[in-house]
C-alpha cells in the first residue's frame, strides 16, 4: 500500500472544474483529471500497470485483477459490443450483483460512448420491463439464470434489445435461445474484432468527452413512476471532489462495493471515485456474505442508507444483550463514559480526565466493537437517504466510527455534509461550497442552485419533468427542511409525505418512523394521521428480536402472524412507543398502533427497492386497518392478498388488534 503523505495544497476550485484547467494526473487533493471513465482507465493502466485495481472474493480468497486486466476485459468487451452492433449513445441495461463483470460491461459500453443503466437485482419482471422500455436500451446484461429468466419472460415486450449477455453460466447450458450470449463469448468476439481493426478501441475512447452522459440513475420513485436522471462524467467528478476534499485518501486503499450499482452511490464512488484515486474496488463473494467480507476489507469509505445503519445497530445490540454479565457491564460502563465524552466534545469543554476516561472506555469496549463491526481502517462513513434518528447517530459517534450525515439527491449529488469537528445533533451539516440552498413556500421546500457542472443533465426523455423541477437555475427538490441560525441544514421529510392532522398541525411521518425503527423490537413502521385527529402507526415487529424476547418470557408462538398478535407483544410495543413518544414533539405523538400481521415486502410494491415506504399503495391496501384504528374497534378482521415470489397469489386472513396508549 503506497503511503503518500497528505499535502494540504488547496485543490482545484469549482470554476476550474468547469473549464477543465489542470489536467495533470495526480492523487488526492492535487488536481483531478477531467476525463471520461474509460480515458481514466487507459491512463491508470499505463501508470499503475500491475497494481491491484479490482478484487473478487471466491472460496475465501480475494482474487486480484490488476489495472491491465481491468483494461483488457473492458477493451475486449467493448469491441465485442461493437461487433454485435452497439452504437454510440445507446443504452445498456445491467441487472445483477456487485461483480467485476458489471464493471467491465458498464465501462465497455461507456468506452463506445454508450450509457449504463443499472437495475436492482430483486426487481420483478414488470419493473425490469419498465426500465428497459423507458431507457430504450439496445443491449441487456443479466447476471445469472434468475435474471435471464426475468428478461426471457418479457422478451416479447422488449424487442429492440438485440442481445442479453450473462456472466454466471451456471444452469445456462440448456438455454439454446440465440438471444442469450455468454460474457466470455463477447470477449472472444472482441479479440477477433481487434485483429481486424487494430487500436479501434484507443481511438474510440479518445473521442469520448467529459460532458458525455455516463449513466442513468433512476430516482426511487416513491411518488409516481421512477424518473431517469442523466449524470455526466463531469458531474460525477465534481461530486467526488466535493466529498474527497476533506479526507486523506491514498493510492491502493480499499473500497468495498456492496450497494447495487443501480443506486447513484456506487456510480460516484465505485466507478469514477476509484478510477480517479486509484482505489481498489473489492467485491463480496455473494450477497449473503456481505457482512463478513465488509469486515475483512474494512473499506476506506462507506456510504449506506439510514436503514442499513439501523440494522447494524440492531443486530449488534441483540448480540451484546445475549452476552454474559461481565461483557454487558463492560459495555454499559464504556457507553456511559462515551456519552459524557461526546456531549463534552460537542460543547468543547473537554478536560484531561474525560480524555483519559474515554481512552479507557475505548480499550474496554469500543476498540473491539469497531473491530467486530469492521471499521478499523475507515476514514469516513456517510449516512444518506431517509432520516436517521439522533439517538442512533450518537451511538456510532461514541463507538468512534467516523459517521457523518449528509443531504443529497440523485439530481444534485451532495448538497450539505457534516464536517468532522462541527457536528450538531440531528443536522445534516453545512451547505457545501459551490452550492446554494433556499427554503421557500409554506411547506418550506428546499431549493438548490449550483452551476451545471454539479447538476444532473436533466431527466431522460422527460423534458417537462426537467422543466418543472429546474426553474431559472433553482432545482425544486420536493423535500422539506430548514436551516438554523449558524448555517446547519435540518432535513424534515418529502413534502408529498408531510402530513397534517385534522387541526392543521403538521408532522413528518418519516422522522417518527426513523425514531420508531430505533427500538430493537420494531423492524419497520408506517405512520398515519392525515386529516385525522391523532397520529397512529402500523408497526412491523422484528421477528428475531421479539422472538428472542418471547422465548425468554416463555411465550409459545409459531409463525409471524401468531407472534405479532400476542397480547404481551402488544404490551411490549406500547412500552417502547411510550419511550419513543418522549422524544417526539407533543402534538405528533402516537396515540394508537396496530401490529401488522405480515412484513412489508418490496415484491408486493409496498416498498421501493431502496426500502422506502410507498405510502399510496399502502394506504389503499391497509385501508380497513387504518379505519379500524380510528373507529374505536379493537379487533379488525383483515384479508390481505399476498403475492408469492413466482407470481402466484395467496390470501392471508388474520385478526388484527388495535391498541390505545
Amino acid at each position: 500500500m503506497v503511503d503518500r503523505t497528505h499535502k494540504e495544497k488547496e485543490g482545484m476550485s469549482i470554476d476550474q472544474l468547469k473549464t477543465g484547467i489542470g489536467d495533470v494526473p495526480g492523487h488526492h487533493g492535487e488536481n483531478w483529471r477531467l476525463k471520461t471513465s474509460p480515458q481514466l482507465l487507459v491512463e491508470n493502466a499505463v501508470m499503475w500497470r500491475d497494481k491491484p485495481a479490482l478484487r473478487k472474493k471466491r472460496y475465501g480468497i480475494w482474487n486480484t485483477y490488476s489495472w491491465q486486466d481491468y483494461l483488457d476485459n473492458v477493451k475486449y468487451f467493448s469491441l465485442g459490443l461493437i461487433s454485435l452492433g452497439f452504437k454510440r449513445n445507446e443504452k445498456i441495461v445491467i441487472v445483477g450483483d456487485n461483480d467485476p463483470e458489471w464493471w467491465y460491461c458498464q465501462m465497455g459500453a461507456q468506452s463506445v460512448g454508450g450509457v449504463g443503466v443499472g437495475v436492482f437485482i430483486d426487481c420483478t419482471p414488470p419493473e425490469v420491463k419498465y426500465f428497459v422500455q423507458h431507457s430504450a436500451a439496445t443491449f441487456a446484461v443479466a447476471k445469472d439464470q434468475e435474471q435471464c429468466d426475468k428478461l426471457l419472460d418479457i422478451k416479447h415486450e422488449i424487442l429492440d434489445v438485440k442481445k442479453v449477455i450473462y456472466w454466471e453460466p451456471k444452469g445456462m447450458r440448456k438455454y439454446t435461445d440465440p438471444w442469450l450470449i455468454d460474457f466470455r463469448e463477447v470477449l472472444q468476439l472482441g479479440r477477433q474484432y481487434e485483429k481486424s481493426h487494430p487500436n479501434a478501441f484507443e481511438d474510440m475512447v479518445k473521442t469520448g468527452n467529459v460532458d458525455d452522459i455516463s449513466c442513468l440513475a433512476y430516482t426511487s420513485g416513491t411518488t409516481g413512476l421512477p424518473k431517469a436522471a442523466q449524470l455526466s462524467y463531469r458531474t460525477l467528478i465534481a461530486w467526488n471532489y466535493a466529498l474527497w476534499k476533506y479526507y486523506p485518501i491514498y493510492l491502493g486503499q480499499d473500497y468495498f462495493s456492496f450497494l447495487c450499482p443501480a443506486w447513484a452511490v456506487d456510480q460516484i464512488l465505485g466507478f469514477v471515485g476509484c478510477l480517479e484515486q486509484g482505489l481498489v474496488v473489492n467485491f463480496p463473494e455473494s450477497p449473503s456474505t456481505v457482512v463478513e467480507d465488509a469486515r475483512e476489507i474494512s473499506s476506506v469509505i462507506e456510504l449506506a442508507g439510514a436503514r442499513m445503519w439501523e440494522e447494524r445497530y440492531r443486530n449488534l445490540f441483540t448480540r451484546i444483550n445475549d452476552a454474559d454479565w461481565l461483557k454487558r457491564t463492560a459495555y454499559r460502563v464504556a457507553m456511559s463514559i462515551g456519552r459524557i465524552y461526546v456531549e463534552r466534545r460537542q460543547t468543547n469543554q473537554l478536560n484531561l480526565l474525560c480524555e483519559a476516561l474515554y481512552k479507557l472506555a475505548d480499550q474496554l469496549a469500543f476498540r473491539s466493537l469497531r473491530d467486530r463491526m469492521g471499521y478499523v481502517r475507515s476514514t469516513v462513513c456517510l449516512v444518506a437517504g431517509a432520516m436517521m434518528s439522533p439517538e442512533l447517530f450518537t451511538f456510532f459517534q461514541i463507538v468512534g466510527i467516523p459517521l457523518y450525515t449528509y443531504y443529497g439527491i440523485t439530481e444534485a449529488g451532495f448538497i450539505t455534509m457534516q464536517q468532522p469537528g462541527d457536528i450538531k445533533r440531528g443536522s445534516c451539516g453545512k451547505v457545501l461550497p459551490g452550492r446554494e440552498v433556499k427554503i421557500t413556500g409554506k411547506e418550506n421546500e428546499v431549493l438548490v442552485k449550483a452551476d451545471n457542472a454539479m447538476m444532473f443533465s436533466g431527466y431522460f426523455r422527460n423534458e417537462d419533468a426537467t422543466k418543472s423541477a429546474l426553474q431559472d437555475g433553482w432545482y425544486h427538490t420536493g423535500d422539506a427542511g430548514y436551516i438554523d441560525h449558524d448555517g446547519h441544514f435540518f432535513f424534515m421529510d418529502r413534502i408529498s409525505e408531510m402530513m397534517a392532522l385534522a387541526d392543521g398541525n403538521k408532522f413528518s411521518p418519516t422522522y417518527i418512523e426513523s425514531e420508531l425503527r430505533c427500538s430493537q423490537y420494531i423492524a419497520d413502521a408506517m405512520v398515519v394521521g392525515q386529516g385525522k385527529d391523532f397520529v397512529a402507526a402500523l408497526i412491523q415487529i422484528d421477528l428475531k428480536n421479539v422472538g428472542q424476547w418471547a422465548e425468554s418470557k416463555h411465550i409459545a408462538y409459531n409463525t409471524y402472524v401468531d407472534l405479532s398478535q400476542k397480547a404481551p407483544v402488544y404490551e411490549l410495543i406500547s412500552l417502547e412507543l411510550k419511550v419513543i413518544n418522549a422524544r417526539i414533539p407533543e402534538r405528533s405523538r402516537i396515540k394508537a398502533f396496530v401490529n401488522l400481521h405480515k412484513e412489508f415486502d418490496a415484491d408486493e410494491a409496498e416498498m421501493t427497492r431502496t426500502r422506502k415506504l410507498r405510502r399510496a399503495p399502502l394506504f389503499e391496501k391497509y385501508g380497513e386497518i387504518i379505519d379500524g384504528i380510528y373507529s374505536e374497534a379493537d379487533m379488525i378482521t383483515v384479508d390481505t392478498e399476498v403475492k408469492y415470489r413466482d407470481g402466484r397469489k395467496g390470501s392471508v386472513r388474520a385478526q388484527v388488534k388495535a391498541m390505545r396508549i
Binding site: 478484487r55 472474493k57 475465501g60 480468497i61 480475494w62 482474487n63 486480484t64 473489492n282 469486515r295 475483512e296 476489507i297 474494512s298 449488534l316 448480540r319 451484546i320 444483550n321 445475549d322 452476552a323 454474559d324 461483557k327 454487558r328 463492560a330 459495555y331 469496549a365 473491539s368 466493537l369 469497531r370 473491530d371 467486530r372 463491526m373 469492521g374 471499521y375 478499523v376 481502517r377
Partner: protein, 343 residues
C-alpha cells in the same frame, strides 16, 4: 477468526500458522524471553527445562501417534530409551559426530517403532495397547541384558559437540535442546497440517471408511508409528547426552503411561496440547518435591506425591475431559468476540 481488515489474496497466505502482526510480535518476544532464561532463572530450573525439552519432543511424537492417528501406544518410553542408547553407542563407541547421531538414532527408533506398527494393523483398541506394552517390556529387557548396551551397569554418553562447540555447561545445553524443540515442533505442526495429518485423522476416526476412501490404512499406521518413534528417538538421544549416563531404569512402563497422561491432560490432537501437558506436570512435580516438609513427615513425602498426582489427574479428567488446550481455545474464543455474546 482474523481481526478486521485482514484479507487473504493467496492460499499460502490463508494457510499460514502465524496470521497477524500481533501474533508475530507475541511469538518472537516469547522466544527471546525463553532464550534469555538462563540469565535470570536459577540453575536448577534451567536443568529441569532442558530435560523437559527432550520430554516435550517425545510427547510431540506420542501426540501424533495417539492424538492424531488414534494408535494408543504404551511404549513411548521404550522407544525414547532406544533413541538414547543408539545415540550413546553411536557417539561413544563408534565415534559418529553428535549431529548425525541425533538424527540416526531418531531413524533407528523409527525403524524399531514401525516394527511394532505391524501388529497394529490387525489389532484395535486394547489389544493394540497390550502389544505396545509387551514391546515396552521386551525392549527394556533386551536393553538391560545385552552386552554392548552395558547391561544393568548403564552406558556413558559424552556431552554433545557440533564441530568446535561443545555444550557442557547448563545454559548451553538448554539452548541446544530448546532449538531442537523448536525445529521438531515446526516439523510436527507441518506433518499434522499436511496430507499425512489428514490421513492420520481419517484413520483415527474410522479406519474402515478411510480405507474405502482410498487411504492406504496399512501404510498410514506404519508411518504414524515411525513418526511417533522418530520424535521419541530424537528426544531420547538429546536426553542421553544431557544426562551423560543412561540406565534401563530410566525408561520404565510408568514413564510410558505418563506420556499418555501428558497428551490427555494437555489435550488430544493438538500440538499446543503437548506443551500444556508437559509444562503442567513439570510444575506440579517441582512444587511437590520442593514442599517445605517437617522432619517426621519426610518419610511420608513420596507416597503423598503419588496420591497428589493421582488426584490431580482424576480432577482434570472430570472437570476438563478435553484437556487444557480445549480450555485455552474456549478462553481465546471468548475474548475474540468481546463484548458480543456470539459471532
Amino acid at each position: 477468526m482474523d481481526p478486521a481488515g485482514i484479507y487473504r489474496t493467496t492460499y499460502l497466505d490463508d494457510m499460514s500458522i502465524v496470521r497477524t502482526k500481533t501474533q508475530w510480535t507475541i511469538l518472537i518476544s516469547a522466544l527471546i524471553l525463553t532464550v534469555l532464561a538462563p540469565f535470570y532463572l536459577s540453575k536448577n530450573l534451567i536443568d529441569v527445562m532442558s530435560l523437559s525439552c527432550c520430554i516435550l519432543i517425545s510427547t510431540l511424537g506420542i501426540q501424533i501417534l495417539t492424538g492424531y492417528a488414534g494408535q494408543i501406544s504404551v511404549g513411548q518410553a521404550a522407544f525414547y530409551g532406544v533413541g538414547a542408547y543408539a545415540s550413546a553407542i553411536l557417539v561413544n563407541d563408534l565415534g559418529v559426530p553428535f549431529i548425525f547421531s541425533v538424527f540416526l538414532s531418531g531413524l533407528i527408533a523409527a525403524a524399531v517403532g514401525s516394527a511394532f506398527g505391524i501388529p497394529s494393523l490387525r489389532l484395535k483398541g486394547f489389544y493394540l495397547v497390550m502389544a505396545t506394552l509387551a514391546g515396552q517390556i521386551i525392549i527394556i529387557y533386551l536393553v538391560s541384558h545385552m552386552h554392548f548396551t552395558g547391561g544393568m551397569v548403564g552406558h556413558k554418553a559424552n556431552y554433545p559437540s557440533i564441530g568446535p562447540l561443545t555444550f557442557d555447561t547448563g545454559p548451553r545445553l538448554f539452548w541446544l535442546n530448546f532449538s531442537f524443540l523448536l525445529l521438531m515442533t515446526l516439523m510436527a505442526k507441518n506433518i499434522v497440517r499436511g496430507r499425512w495429518g489428514r490421513a492420520f485423522i481419517a484413520v483415527r476416526d474410522n479406519d474402515l471408511a478411510a480405507n474405502v476412501m482410498g487411504i492406504n490404512v496399512y501404510r498410514t499406521k506404519i508411518f504414524a508409528f515411525a513418526v511417533g518413534c522418530f520424535f521419541a528417538g530424537i528426544g531420547g538421544s538429546l536426553a542421553a547426552h544431557y544426562t551423560g549416563m543412561i540406565h534401563p531404569t530410566q525408561f520404565t512402563l510408568m514413564d510410558s503411561i505418563w506420556y499418555l497422561g501428558y497428551i490427555i491432560i494437555g489435550g488430544l490432537s493438538s500440538i499446543t496440547g503437548c506443551y500444556f501437558g508437559v509444562i503442567f506436570f513439570v510444575t506440579i512435580k517441582e512444587i511437590l518435591t520442593h514442599l517445605p516438609v517437617s522432619a517426621e513427615m519426610a518419610q511420608y513425602i513420596l507416597p503423598i506425591t503419588d496420591v497428589a498426582f493421582g488426584v490431580v489427574i482424576i480432577l482434570i479428567l472430570i472437570f476438563d475431559p478435553k484437556g487444557l488446550n480445549h480450555r485455552w481455545e474456549l478462553f481465546k474464543g471468548y475474548y475474540r468476540i468481546w463484548p458480543l455474546g456470539y459471532k
